[in-house]
């Protein structure tokens, strides 16, 4: 059964409205900004140790705090300002050399929370640390700029479940790992739906409508996924595949404006060295083909990739060859139109700590303000984040 039949058969009270509204919404996004920017958020979950990712190799305090974990000058891939990348991040180093990477140090927020759970919620919702907001900043962007409830493909998370960041009050992004697999699943469900109810309750109507919209959105993505042909080799791990999926959708000209991907496992309380090294390699190895792919397709000026983690780690190592939960951290912005390629601000200040943790100097919400303005044609205030101005990250 095709979608038209399904909608006809499902007898939605709002059928007449539904179809045009959905198509309208997606065309609205396209018409609005046919070659508009695309934001790719990459989340390193578990609290990535930023100090062993972008290493302050010229700072003695770093070696004093981490006698067993510190990386030496001869090991790191040299950047600038006395800093260098973890030796496993050759891909990222190449991106840096091309001028496609801005590294921001000291990114965090006031009264930091050291629980993964809470700190992740703070990053996702954009709330102050003493408030719990129940919707995400990108979800509220969908609320503000996409027609209510529609366009589930405007924001895609390549994952099994949808993160808080992608949940608005009314609209939500779509979590999808493989468009073909999801399309098969949903088509099989729709094929075997019961005949339409005559007078559905409002929530039953909502369920049928969500299903119809999902089928339509997934069908659309499946088409883009089929058309998008990647030319680069991506590493064969889950994160590599997820970045390849995003590249494929972008190359297939999906109208999606926000993509979200995650690499987990950074909670390195014990034996950090090997574990973090392996994860950073996975990350870096997937980012290089992605960025090169965007360059080859002349998309570097449109695509912005941001990488963050819910917090950094304590400056001093612990007794188990690892590090404990910390606060401020570095954050990466990649793209072809950066105002400050390289290390955008000062190296982490290891001399002035707050109970052993770095002090934040850049609030992550001002980074969001930049992204909302530059990539999403919006502003921090219109997604309920008040009092933060863009930093001017983009040229």
């Amino acid at each position: 059964m095709n979608r038209r039949d399904f909608i006809k058969r499902s007898g939605l009270a709002s059928t007449a409205l539904l179809v045009p509204r959905f198509l309208q919404a997606s065309s609205l996004l396209r018409a609005d900004n046919p070659d508009g920017p695309i934001l790719v958020m990459v989340q390193l979950s578990g609290g990535n140790d930023g100090l062993n990712t972008v290493v302050p190799y010229a700072n003695d305090l770093y070696y004093q705090a981490r006698p067993g974990l510190a990386l030496g000058k001869d090991e790191v891939l040299i950047l600038e300002k006395g800093m260098g990348l973890h030796p496993n991040m050759e891909g990222l180093h190449e991106i840096y050399q091309q001028g496609w990477l801005s590294i921001l140090n000291h990114v965090g927020y006031p009264n930091p929370n050291r629980s993964h759970f809470r700190s992740m919620d703070i990053w996702h919702s954009g709330s102050p640390s003493n408030e719990s907001w129940t919707s995400g900043w990108l979800g509220r962007w969908l609320d503000a700029h996409c027609l209510q409830g529609g366009t589930p493909s405007a924001a895609i998370e390549v994952n099994d479940t949808l993160s808080l960041a992608m949940r608005g009050e009314n609209s939500k992004g779509l979590a999808i790992q493989n468009p073909n697999a999801v399309a098969r699943q949903i088509n099989a469900l729709v094929e075997r739906l019961p005949q339409a109810p005559e007078a559905p309750s409002d929530n039953l109507n909502y369920l049928y409508k969500t299903l119809a919209e999902t089928q339509s959105g997934v069908g659309y993505l499946q088409e883009a996924y089929r058309l998008g042909k990647t030319q680069r080799e991506y590493p064969n791990h889950a994160f590599g595949k997820h970045m390849k999926t995003i590249a494929q959708l972008i190359l297939g000209k999906a109208h999606t404006r926000v993509y979200y991907a995650e690499l987990g496992g950074f909670d390195t309380h014990i034996q950090q060295k090997n574990k973090q090294g392996r994860l950073l390699k996975q990350y870096s190895d997937a980012m290089l083909p992605f960025m090169e792919e965007m360059r080859a397709a002349n998309l570097l000026d449109r695509v912005v990739v941001v990488t963050f983690s819910e917090f950094g780690r304590r400056v001093a190592q612990n007794a188990s060859g690892g590090t404990d939960h910390g606060t401020a951290n570095n954050l990466f912005v990649m793209g072809g139109k950066l105002a400050h390629p390289g290390i955008a601000n000062e190296a982490p200040d290891l001399s002035s700590l707050d109970e052993g943790d770095l002090k934040y100097r850049i609030d992550f919400r001002s980074v969001y303000a930049d992204l909302l303005q530059h990539c999403l044609g919006s502003s921090a205030a219109s997604v309920g984040i008040k009092g933060f101005e863009p930093l001017g990250l983009f040229a």
Partner: protein
């Protein structure tokens, strides 16, 4: 009661009726059915999977012995996992359906999580014990509960350096509700709660030297108030009853607010001195509770969906740990609310991916088939291992017995009727059974058609 009213009552006041009992339950009057729910609610089991540790001062212990940190965490995670499974099994199999459902409500209301199993177990058992008791008692008990004091940072609330988190949540989430108090109220209340802490055994402990004994001015009254005075002041305010009534209405009746009905609930709550049982009885006995617009128009929470299904088909999991992954994907892990505000309810349960998963789940459980269950790796949450295969055993014997001798139409109507909300004549819209099929196949077919319908997502 009609079949629809019966299902409605047992879904809202529990996790759906046992299908074999439905023919008996429809014979009852409304008052008899409500009495039965309250009577059965007496027969419940407290949670007992966590072991009492040598000391409840986990945090201190972890700080002092970084080497033990991993062991402490592992010890707790395993027990938290066992507790989660016990909670879900009680939902599914306890006779005390009303108490279990009320517990889930209070667990959502007093949303609290600490990674210390025994402490959380004490908290949960307090909620279960008082679930149908008195809200005044419950609030005082929960406010002096170790898990709550820990979760809301009141252990750091000291006279010289007050931490307002606990006071704020008491006013915002448990009593008056947002907009009904000032920032000054919070500051003064926080002073009254200074020094509220817990001892090594997890019992309430007022640390005198951290307690601010000075005069506080709270909502127009001045005195050397302690935390108890603050709680009593806000409980004496009808705004607390109004706030709780709204929450009860939204949870047990409808997401669509209804001013008059909420006011009615608030009056019962307030005039009864916060008697929860009387208030709930009033709700379940009201005609408006059986308003056709209300019945069958609530989106099942993940706990409702999983539990209701288990109750209907006598489902057992070869390895119950698969429940962790299922809850995670569905978006509700019992014992671990997402934040202080609890779970977002109703339509918030549904996004494109969860809806597809929910609709495929019933079929996968019935047919013992694969479902992708690899879940993301989340630190500090009970992740309890990963399982990607559903291995289930069903017992559908009760349906075969109940359906023996029924015509195909009767069989279809019966199974659809007792498993899904009997609205919209689902039984007449699914693909029909074929006369030549054996009974077992007919039963399985109708069940399958029902559990994968959008209608099955409602209760």
């Amino acid at each position: 009661m009609t079949l629809q009213e019966t299902l409605h009552l047992f879904w809202r006041a529990g996790f759906g009726p046992d299908p074999t009992q439905v023919p008996r339950l429809v014979q009852l009057t409304r008052a008899e059915a409500v009495d039965l729910l309250f009577q059965d609610a007496q027969d419940y089991s407290p949670m007992d999977r966590a072991e009492m540790p040598a000391s409840m001062r986990w945090r201190k212990q972890m700080r002092n012995n970084p080497e033990d940190k991993k062991a402490v965490r592992k010890f707790n995670l395993e027990q938290l996992g066992d507790m989660n499974i016990q909670a879900l099994n009680e939902f599914a199999f306890s006779r005390a359906q009303l108490r279990e459902k009320m517990f889930l409500f209070w667990h959502d209301h007093f949303a609290c999580f600490v990674p210390f199993a025994y402490m959380l177990q004490l908290h949960i058992n307090k909620l279960k014990a008082e679930a149908l008791g008195n809200y005044r008692t419950m609030l005082h008990t929960v406010a002096k509960d170790a898990a709550m004091l820990e979760f809301l940072n009141n252990t750091q609330n000291r006279s010289r350096n007050p931490n307002e988190n606990f006071a704020r949540e008491v006013l915002e989430l448990y009593t008056l509700g947002i907009g009904q108090y000032t920032e000054q109220d919070i500051k003064e209340a926080a002073r009254a709660f200074t020094g509220w802490n817990y001892d090594d055994a997890g019992a309430f402990w007022l640390v005198e030297r951290w307690h601010d004994t000075g005069t506080k001015t709270f909502r127009g009254k001045s005195g050397a108030f302690g935390g108890e005075d603050i709680l009593n002041t806000v409980l004496d305010d009808p705004a607390t009853a109004a706030f709780l009534a709204k929450k009860l209405y939204a949870w047990f009746v409808s997401e669509q607010p209804h001013t008059e009905r909420e006011k009615e609930i608030a009056e019962v709550l307030y005039s009864s001195g916060y008697a929860i049982d009387q208030t709930m009885r009033h709700i379940f006995m009201s005609d408006w509770f059986y308003d056709p617009k209300v019945m069958g128009n609530r989106i099942k929470s993940p706990a409702d969906l999983l539990t209701g299904f288990r109750r209907q088909v006598g489902l057992t999991f070869k390895d119950e740990q698969v429940l962790f992954a299922l809850q995670r994907i569905l978006g509700q892990t019992v014992g671990h609310p997402p934040n202080v505000a609890g779970w977002k309810d109703g339509r918030a349960w549904i996004d494109a991916s969860t809806l597809v998963f929910r609709m495929r789940l019933g079929e996968a459980l019935l047919s013992n088939s694969d479902l992708e269950l690899q879940t993301r790796d989340l630190p500090e949450q009970p992740s309890y291992g990963k399982l990607d295969k559903l291995q289930t055993e069903l017992s559908l014997q009760h349906f075969y017995e109940l359906c023996a001798g029924l015509s195909d139409t009767e069989l279809t109507e019966f199974i659809c009727g007792v498993t899904a909300v009997p609205q919209n004549k689902l039984h007449s819209r699914i693909r029909p059974v074929q006369a030549a099929w054996p009974l077992e196949k007919k039963v399985q077919h109708v069940l399958l058609e029902t559990v994968r319908s959008p209608e099955y997502q409602l209760c």
